[in-house]
Symmetry: C2
Subunit: 334 residues, 2 copies
């Protein structure tokens, strides 16, 4: 199996790449080649067991998609996107990459001829939904995005459904939960604090909490998210029918529940590092997101994730902190 990852240099792309190298099988078949693509060429990992290529390409560029599929990858994992805040500010750029880029990729596959019909696994988002929400959001809840990003993701899903229905591609769209705990530095994303209030205290750093602790959200670890893509790459798609967009499973937790899980794993000292810092703008944005999804279709199809927020914290400690906490978080930090 030859896998092409578009958007391979991002956090998720690197997690998926690492997961493939650690266990190079997809749906019971061996992965023998990996093509990594991003705006700047990703670092090509050392992989004696298979062939790796890494190159730079802009999915929004004119010739890019045809070149990317020149050697007919069996599986295309499509992560390339202009992210939410960026797409909201840069209207044209968002449509160019998130809609036109995806459509150009689908067209390149369609125009390739020789009955080429790869599996496409597309990174969609639960941002396709908008309020008002029921307490628990069912799988067939109608998309009503509140952002250009969410709009662009639904449009891409619709294109993938239609091209798949026509037999031009074999697509699956994964509507991802918020990835928690996101590794790395704090960032400016409105959702950043969901990771920050755990990630920073675990290493003895303070973290700001901009929303009430009753705020409920839908989480999956980076390890789970990588697993979603690899499961989708190998699964049978016949049972999907014409509805190829799936709400991915996650863990529904309030901020208070996140904090209790942190206490259980890292003690009161970690909790003391979380400082309430109400931010009405962030609270307003976050209030437009759903906090609990049924995701029963995806679970029935074999997608799995963590069962508790403690598990999510443990995954972070294993995958990002070498399996153990640094010295106990100090009360006097800052």
């Amino acid at each position: 199996v030859h896998i092409l990852i578009i958007g391979a240099a991002g956090m998720l792309g690197r997690k998926i790449t690492a997961a493939i190298l650690a266990d190079p099988t997809i749906g019971g078949r061996t992965v023998t080649a990996l093509s990594l693509v991003d705006l700047m060429a990703p670092q090509a990992p050392d992989w004696p067991a298979g062939r790796v290529s890494a190159k730079a390409a802009d999915l929004g560029g004119s010739a890019a998609p045809a070149e990317l599929i020149e050697d007919r990858p069996d599986v295309i994992i499509h992560l390339a996107a202009v992210v939410s805040a960026d797409a909201e500010v840069h209207f044209d750029k968002g449509y160019r990459v998130n809609v036109d880029g995806t459509r150009a990729l689908l067209e390149a596959v369609r125009q390739a001829g020789d009955a080429y019909c790869p599996r496409l696994v597309f990174a969609s988002s639960l941002a396709v939904f908008g309020p008002p929400f029921p307490n628990r959001i069912p799988d067939d809840f109608a998309p009503a995005p509140r952002t250009s990003y969410g709009t662009q993701k639904v449009i891409a899903e619709l294109l993938i459904n239609d091209y798949s229905r026509k037999g031009m591609i074999d697509g699956v769209s994964l509507r991802l939960p918020t990835i928690s705990i996101r590794p790395g530095k704090p960032n400016a994303a409105a959702s950043g604090f969901f990771s920050g209030i755990i990630r920073e205290p675990l290493i003895g750093q303070p973290a700001a909490l901009p929303v009430p602790d009753t705020t409920r959200h839908w989480h999956a670890s980076p390890r789970s998210a990588a697993g979603f893509f690899l499961h989708a790459a190998g699964m049978h798609t016949a049972s999907l029918g014409h509805r190829r967009a799936l709400n991915m499973p996650g863990l529904s937790a309030t901020v208070a529940e996140q904090i209790e899980a942190l206490r259980a794993v890292a003690g009161q000292g970690a909790i003391d590092l979380i400082r309430p810092a109400p931010d009405p703008l962030v609270a307003d944005i976050v209030g437009g997101w759903g906090g609990d999804y049924e995701a029963s279709r995806a679970r029935a199809l074999g997608f799995t994730t963590e069962g508790s927020f403690e598990d999510i914290i443990k995954v972070h400690i294993e995958d990002e902190l070498g399996g153990a906490l640094p010295r106990p978080a100090a009360h006097q930090a800052n």
Copy 2:
């Protein structure tokens, strides 16, 4: 008020034009100018009370949309489309007109500058939905189209929502029922018989019925459909929020109920002209359509339609047959 109708030469465009000429007010304001556009220039009606222009333009062409809005119409009624069967066979043409054409129109408005933000009333379709259906389809039922046409209509709706949310246009998308009774000759559309089994017997001609008479469908007269557009052109849109696509009201009737209405209006002689001619292909296509919609949002917003299929037949007799039936349909027709 200056109204631009794109796709003005079609049945619906002509009905809307005639309705405006008969009563040139929109939302309490007087219509003073009418611009009619289609692939071939529509016939410009004689209208002493206002200014009429008629020209040819292809919405899928490159410069067309900017030219169409050069004199800044206050209301744009967008009916131009590659229809269902055509879009299913001619994949590129469908996307070019139904998606790219609509997007080009939105972009032309956005790029016009000077705070130009016209009302756009877009002809969408209940083909945005796909089975399985509940008995009665709620307003927030999730679009899951089974055709490229339906896909293209949802994409256009999403674009109109996003451009409206951004204040670039003031859009409303009308998901139209099947127009019954469609005037004119029988055509090859899978839905054609819903009109044919009434229209032909009313003038003493035989008509084929390809589906079981238990088949339930959602109807509105051409007069009602024209009324939907004129109501949407003048209504307040603030209460729509970010959900600017509306399921239009209609009349839910089984074929048997249609036939009983025909009997009440035109007698047994007309019924005898309907010949069962089962067609599994048509039955299969029609089976993929919903037959009953709540449409409560649209009704609350003031959209109205017929209350019985008899009323729909009477509208046809008034608007197409000069207000009276021709001589009683003869038993010996054929």
